[in-house]
């Protein structure tokens, strides 16, 4: 096992947390393009956001003739034991988008969610003139993405004493839920002039709820830089989004995995820029 050439029969399994989200779809697309270019077989499995399903999938991968595994953990802690089993079997593991805590990885390609949360706080504060009331929409409770972005945002907000976060509620990373929750929160807090959503889907739901107030009275900042999110920035309804580069993440992950199979040494961490996208630079990202 190990070594081997990177011919058409080389099988890499990519375990993705969920494909029910455009972000990961783009990540997958980037990975598939890179795999095609490298001439390797890329098997994609989707855990539908369930850690245990993912553990099952990783175990199944280890049983097949898999040469390397790329994992996008549902949860960074929960993936550890399955990843350990893979490394024990000498299968290189590259983590993408989220890290794996407590297991040695061949490499990690990720953007920093905590830093992203801080950047979001800065963008929102700037657009609000560094004063006013803010609503924060949280992702699915208990997910690391929500935790890290929330923590980063809270940390970033400390720099702006004239801004208060008046309400924090979950909208489950979901556009429809964000629409209802934002509507309700605006009812209770009509004075609000800023809103941070932990992903673009929720930000777009909030924009829908705010109607004409989006981008004029209430400034909305999202996270991800999805196609819909970037379009909303062009339109002016979204002030900013913290763009990750999912396709780039996917591409790098495959390239690293192929290198690892060949036995080439790879960097332990490969950071991918998180960029604050606003009207001024949205042109560079538009797809």
């Amino acid at each position: 096992r190990g070594g081997g050439d990177a011919g058409g029969s080389t099988k890499i399994v990519m375990a993705i947390s969920t494909l029910n989200n455009p972000f990961f779809v783009e990540l997958r697309d980037g990975a598939q393009a890179a795999a095609k270019k490298a001439g390797v077989q890329l098997n994609i499995v989707d855990a539908q956001n369930d850690s245990a399903t993912q553990a099952n999938q990783l175990a199944t991968a280890a049983a097949g003739a898999t040469k390397a595994v790329i994992v996008n953990p549902v949860d960074s802690d929960a993936a550890a034991s399955a990843v350990k089993a893979l490394t024990k079997a000498d299968i290189p593991v590259v983590a993408v988008d989220r890290t794996v805590n407590g297991a040695a990885l061949t490499s990690l390609v990720a953007s920093d969610n905590v830093a992203g949360g801080r950047q979001a706080a800065d963008e929102l504060a700037r657009s609000m003139g560094e004063k006013g009331s803010v609503i924060a929409l949280q992702g699915v409770s208990g997910t690391s993405a929500s935790r890290d972005r929330g923590a980063g945002f809270a940390e970033g907000m400390k720099a702006y004493p004239n801004i208060t976060v008046v309400a924090k509620q979950t909208a489950n990373f979901d556009r429809a839920a964000a629409l209802d929750v934002t509507t309700n929160l605006m009812q209770a807090h009509p004075e609000v002039t800023g809103l941070f959503a932990e992903n673009d889907e929720m930000a777009l739901g909030a924009v829908q709820a705010l109607g004409a107030r989006a981008g004029t009275v209430v400034m909305v900042v999202g996270f991800d830089g999805t196609a819909d999110g970037l379009a909303a920035i062009k339109k002016g309804t979204l002030v900013a989004t913290i763009a990750q580069q999912p396709a780039e993440l996917g591409k790098l992950a495959v390239e690293l995995a192929v290198k690892a199979i060949k036995g080439t040494k790879v960097d332990k961490t490969v950071p991918v820029e998180v960029v604050s996208v606003t009207k001024t630079n949205v042109g560079d990202f538009a797809k």
């Binding site: 455009p22 309400a167 509620q169 829908q208």
Partner: protein, 323 residues
């Protein structure tokens, strides 16, 4: 003698009967009073409109579910079928280039077909409705992802209109009320509607009385699919886009609304008005907790307790009344 007393009770409003027939209404009223006391934001015209809009999706789904539960089945696929229908409609518009109104109709047909498949699998294929519709949940969600490649697709203007306004009145509320009237009419006034109660109450007795039990079951699931499609289009209209993950898990909300509304999962019981109240209970709880800004972790705890209480009040009321 007894004939003279009959009309007497008829003349006045028979509030006892009304209460007895409208399950969780008392729970809903108590809930509203509590929220009215707790926050001034609750009883405002705008917030009531918001509640009306927010209840529309779940209520429309739950109306369709009422047919199924009355007939003694269950439909786990309504959320997924709602998403599929909206996605089909958006794809017909964006992908296949059909005119918007045809795309809208196509979405409704997709839901209807999914429902028919459920019904055939249950009535003729003899699959328990739980299994047939669980399978459909998976298939419909999968197809939605296949069609959309996991990305949201823009809705045609005709669908967005469903999520917009008709003059000062939000369209979702209009659609909701029309759907309620149609559902209630179907269930109460038509042969097929009344037959659903018989099938749910005792399928064998219904069959031996000559009711076409299988056809009724297919109709029941077809209606659930059609209402799910409408709910899906409503939701997509409000979001201006069909989402691959739209309405995920809404089936539990829909079933809960029907059960809170006084139906029994063993069939033969249920009313559209009850279901409407049940859906309102769920939505008002969430609206209220948002207004009160209960932190999201505790919110789930409180939602659970309030659901139990709202239904509990009803149980208690029936008990004291009967003894």
């Amino acid at each position: 003698m007894s004939t003279t007393t009959q009309p007497a009770t008829r003349r006045g409003f028979d509030y006892k009967k009304f209460l007895a027939n409208n399950g969780a209404l008392v729970g809903l009223v108590v809930l509203c009073i509590a929220l009215f006391i707790a926050t001034p934001d609750f009883l405002t015209g705008q917030n009531l409109l918001n509640i009306g809009i927010q209840v529309s999706t779940v209520a429309v789904l739950a109306f369709g579910m009422t047919f199924v539960i009355v007939a003694g089945g269950i439909d786990l696929s309504v959320g997924a079928v709602a998403a599929l229908s909206a996605m089909v409609s958006s794809w017909l518009f964006v992908g296949a280039g059909l005119p918007g109104w045809l795309a809208l109709a196509g979405g409704l047909v997709a839901g209807l077909l999914a429902g028919v498949v459920n019904g055939l699998a249950n009535a003729y294929g003899k699959l328990p409705s739980f299994i047939a519709t669980l399978a459909m949940l998976s298939v419909a969600r999968g197809l939605t992802l296949v069609i959309s490649d996991g990305r949201p697709i823009k809705t045609p203007a005709e669908v967005s209109f469903l999520g917009g306004n008709l003059g000062p009145v939000p369209m979702p509320i209009v659609v909701l009320l029309v759907a309620a009237l149609v559902a209630s009419f179907l269930l109460n006034r038509t042969v097929i509607g009344r037959s659903m109660y018989a099938v749910g109450g005792n399928a064998e007795a219904a069959r031996l009385s000559g009711l076409p039990v299988k056809r009724i079951l297919v109709t029941v699931f077809a209606l659930a699919g059609l209402f799910a499609a409408l709910a899906g289009l409503l939701l997509a209209g409000r979001l201006d886009s069909a989402q691959p993950q739209a309405a995920a898990g809404y089936e539990l909300d829909a079933i809960a609304a029907v059960v809170i509304g006084g139906a029994s999962l063993s069939g033969g019981l249920g009313k559209i008005s009850g279901t409407f109240v049940g859906a309102l209970v769920l939505v008002v709880i969430r609206n209220g907790l948002n207004l009160l800004n209960v932190t999201s972790f505790w919110q789930q705890v409180v939602i659970g307790l309030v659901i139990a209480l709202a239904v509990g009040v009803d149980v208690l009321r029936r008990k004291t009344r009967s003894s």
